[in-house]
């Protein structure tokens, strides 16, 4: 049995050497008894996180990749189905006024340093995250809790540029109250039915006392309560996690040691995976995507599953032309989604039938877009005629720094050939400029927009994008009916009832067509021969607890 070679690629300039190293390995290394232990850990493609490894301050996927297994919150999302389920919470009960949740914690859980996890750890961590003085990136995640505005006053930045925000008048949110060691109460500003789902997000985890005693030490050596604990880290190179043997949750991992290795090039990681020098990748280089070459090369080791997100073509309803619903419907009818998915994405995407990602937890969207999302040439022309035709050139905008050119060209071609109107493309060089143009309502025609779910309820696809005051409402869509349905759903008694109302709201979009749903891309990755099982979650992050080492001798 050959000794497995460890490769820690750092600089892009090394990639050629590494490539050679990877190829030289021939068949790669086999599974031994040591596989999955610290001596020969399972290796995972990673990248240097943008911010420190503190859950309330990290919001990039590389941070999530190591923080998710290190911390367990009250609620967790299933890595396979994205369904929420209680983790550290024994129960979360809602009061009669629908504003206060009583959380009971499971007992006997310990942080990796031996401290017991108590209600105080949650309350202190959340207060720390929300307090403006700590400038945590995920602070606004806590904004539904009563007293948030006192600890984090709104930033008054306006037209005249940045202004100094007012000093917070309190250090702790009045809505959080510790009852006993294993019970605490959360009071919200107003009823918010899907709050128990939302707290599965990474920012809502507990922090040990050790964090508050010495934050500097914690940043170098994070201590959590999750299935994996921090072992060691070489900045810009790698980070190793080992299995936490006293873990109480039911999502404990099976691999003893996992090493995250920083790769700067998808191509290098891909080559290393093919030669079994790397065990999990979560990006596929573009060159291998063409013609599905990666699937041919990787066979059963390829991972492809729907992303919890959607790509739409937003319509600038602030422009007179696009106020006509018949024109919007005509455009939607003119796009042959099925063929684009098949030919441009090689089937690695799903044609949209509504505004919510397919197979999304919380009431699957049963085609809220309805007939408007089915390609129908005759009907498209009929609606265009009803709308009074289209003068001039229809210009579709996209950001040139993402890989969008090909599919949007196909969409443009489909509209052009179906409706017989002039269609052009406008590539905006950077996403920054593109975002500015969207924010300032400067789009002259339909524009690409992608959205990924933050938490598993249909609300995440609706409220921010289509309510009149939505934080990411770029279309200028405003419907009283829709706003009311969302408000009603937010205050619904149960999550099921809320989801039902959210789906009703989605159907309202189907009547107005403020944007054109297009497709949902697949999450793509692969595992090496050394793993029998392993997947990525729907945010493309490798789910370490799902890894299983293959039988030795295979």
């Amino acid at each position: 049995m050959r000794k497995r070679r460890m490769v820690a690629p750092v600089a892009a300039s090394l990639s050629a050497v590494l490539l050679a190293a990877g190829c030289g390995g021939g068949g790669g290394s086999a599974v031994t008894e040591a596989t999955g232990t610290l001596e020969d850990p399972i290796t995972v493609q990673w990248g240097e996180p943008q911010s420190e490894l503190v859950p309330t301050n990290s919001n990039d996927t590389f941070g999530s990749q190591v923080l998710n297994p290190m911390f367990t919150g009250l609620v967790e999302y299933d890595p396979k189905s994205f369904e929420p389920k209680n983790a550290m919470a024994k129960s979360i009960e809602l009061s009669d006024d629908k504003k206060t949740y009583t959380v009971k914690l499971k007992q006997g859980w310990k942080f990796h340093n031996g401290e017991e996890v108590t209600a105080d750890n949650f309350v202190r961590a959340w207060n720390y995250g929300a307090y403006a003085g700590n400038a945590q990136q995920n602070a606004d995640m806590f904004n539904a809790i009563q007293g948030y505005d006192a600890v984090h006053p709104a930033d008054p930045d306006g037209e005249e540029g940045p202004k100094k925000p007012p000093e917070p008048s309190a250090e702790k949110m009045s809505g959080l109250k510790v009852v006993d060691d294993h019970t605490f109460k959360i009071t919200l500003k107003k009823p918010f039915s899907v709050f128990p789902t939302k707290i599965g997000y990474q920012a809502f985890v507990p922090l040990p006392d050790a964090f508050f005693e010495n934050k500097e030490k914690f940043r170098k050596n994070p201590i959590g309560n999750g299935p994996y604990k921090f072992e060691s880290r070489t900045p810009q190179q790698s980070l190793t996690l080992t299995r936490y043997k006293d873990y109480q949750g039911d999502d404990a991992g099976s691999v003893d040691a996992v090493k995250m290795v920083v790769y700067n090039k998808a191509q290098t990681a891909y080559q290393d995976l093919k030669s079994d020098n790397l065990d999990v990748i979560n990006t596929i280089p573009t060159s291998a995507l063409a013609d599905n070459r990666w699937k041919d090369e990787l066979g059963e080791r390829a991972i492809s599953k729907p992303r919890m997100g959607i790509t739409v073509l937003n319509l600038p309803m602030y422009k007179e032309k696009f106020k006509n619903p018949d024109l919007r419907k005509a455009l939607s009818l003119a796009i042959d989604r099925e063929k684009i998915v098949k030919q441009v994405f090689n089937g690695e995407a799903t044609a949209a039938t509504g505004w919510i990602a397919p197979d999304f937890p919380g009431g699957p969207d049963k085609g809220s877009c309805g007939e408007w999302c089915n390609y129908d040439k005759a009907k498209a022309k009929e609606h265009l005629k009803k709308a009074g035709g289209f003068d001039g050139q229809l210009t579709l905008s996209y950001n040139a720094d993402g890989a969008h050119k090909q599919w949007i060209t196909a969409v443009a071609g489909s509209i052009r050939d179906t409706l017989g109107i002039k269609v052009g493309l406008n590539a905006v060089p950077t996403f920054g400029t593109y975002q500015d143009q969207m924010d300032n309502n400067e789009m002259t025609g339909p524009f690409r927009y992608g959205w990924v779910a933050d938490y598993p309820t249909p609300r995440t696809f609706l409220k921010p994008l289509y309510t009149t005051s939505g934080s990411a409402n770029n279309t200028g869509y405003s419907s009283e009916k829709f706003d009311n349905l969302i408000a009603e759903a937010d205050q619904a008694a149960t999550v099921d009832k809320a989801n039902q109302l959210y789906n009703q709201a989605a159907s309202q979009l189907g009547k107005d067509v403020p944007s054109i749903p297009l497709f949902t891309n697949a999450v793509k990755g692969a595992t090496s021969n050394r793993l029998a099982e392993g997947t990525l979650n729907s945010r493309t992050v490798p789910a370490i607890t799902t890894f299983k080492v293959a039988q030795a001798g295979e």
Partner: protein
């Protein structure tokens, strides 16, 4: 050193007959050449009117390289002006079910990644590519040659200043410079700017950023040329700087710049594609070879015909210009005669 003598003789003649300079020089030149190759059908009066260019033309007509090159270029110009005559189809008509199909009787060049006929696109893409390529080359060479000529001829402080100025542009990475320039041009435009405007912007940007190379080539050629005896002789006879530069130095410096220009043409067609890719150049529905080539990169292994045909046309175009440039250079360079 017969060449230098010949040149000198020309200059002397030119200086001597202030007004009838051209005539005199021609006589001097033809005097060297004609006895060897008697052309009884040419009446003597016509011979008298042939200048440097007339001479070159006579020379060129006999060169097969020139004839082949010009025929290809004329054909390409015809394609650019009347693409519909060569390919009546719609270059943007897409049929997704035909995506990436290889060449067949229906589509001699096959279909691209979203089912558009590559033959039709190549023909319709000629216009944008050739216009951008040729105009950008002309502009680059014009700016570069002029600046290089002055820098090389005058030397000293003028040279230092112009050379340092050129180095500023030379030090700027092309893509970075183009992003800055084009972003400034495009700022404040809502939606996509018009096609002609973008073409002009792209040509200007390439011109502004690429001229220092031809400037340096021209400068070194001018430095060499100005030390020749015939230049000194012209000076001694009291010819003005302008006269010396354009009548004596320039014709002797054209050759190396011409070589650069013909090669740069192909490069500029490619640059246009880079800018399109970054969202700064031409956009759909305009078709260009550069865009076709850059779009085909992902499919190079599975669908090579997507790359081969537009790239083939680009190669042929560049080759035609190289042949033409080669022939013209030989004909214009008095030393080659």
């Amino acid at each position: 050193m017969t060449n230098a003598g010949e040149g000198q003789q020309r200059i002397l003649a030119a200086g001597a007959y202030a007004e009838g300079e051209i005539e005199a020089r021609q006589q001097g030149e033809s005097g060297d050449e004609l006895p060897g190759t008697p052309e009884p059908h040419q009446p003597p009066k016509q011979e008298k009117q042939r200048g440097l260019w007339g001479d070159a033309w006579l020379e060129l007509r006999r060169k097969p390289l020139f004839i082949i090159g010009s025929v290809i270029i004329l054909l390409l110009v015809a394609i650019s002006i009347f693409p519909g005559f060569f390919a009546p189809g719609d270059p943007n008509a897409q049929n997704l079910t035909l995506a990436r199909q290889g060449p067949s009787a229906d589509a001699p060049f096959g279909y691209d990644s979203i089912g558009r006929d590559i033959y039709t696109r190549v023909i319709h893409g000629a216009r944008a590519s050739i216009v951008v390529g040729v105009l950008a080359t002309l502009l680059t060479v014009a700016i570069g040659s002029l600046v290089g000529l002055f820098a090389g001829y005058f030397g000293g402080k003028t040279d230092s200043f112009l050379a340092r100025f050129a180095e500023i542009f030379l030090g700027l990475p092309f893509v970075l410079g183009a992003i800055v320039i084009l972003s400034v041009f495009n700022a404040g435009i809502q939606g996509a700017p018009g096609t002609i405007r973008i073409m002009l912007q792209v040509i200007l940007t390439i011109g502004v950023l690429a001229w220092p190379i031809s400037m340096r080539i021209m400068r070194s050629a001018a430095i060499a040329a100005k030390q020749q005896d015939y230049v000194n002789a012209a000076k001694a006879l009291g010819a003005s700087h302008t006269r010396i530069i354009f009548k004596h130095v320039l014709p002797n410096c054209l050759a190396p710049v011409m070589v650069y220009a013909t090669i740069a043409l192909g490069q500029f067609v490619g640059l246009e594609a880079t800018l399109s890719y970054l969202g700064l150049g031409l956009q759909y529905p305009v078709v260009s070879w550069g865009m076709m080539i850059s779009d085909s990169q992902q499919y190079i292994i599975s669908t090579p015909h997507m790359l081969l045909f537009p790239a083939g046309f680009l190669v042929i175009t560049v080759l035609a210009f190289v042949m033409l440039g080669d022939a013209v250079r030989d004909a214009l360079d008095p030393k080659q005669r």
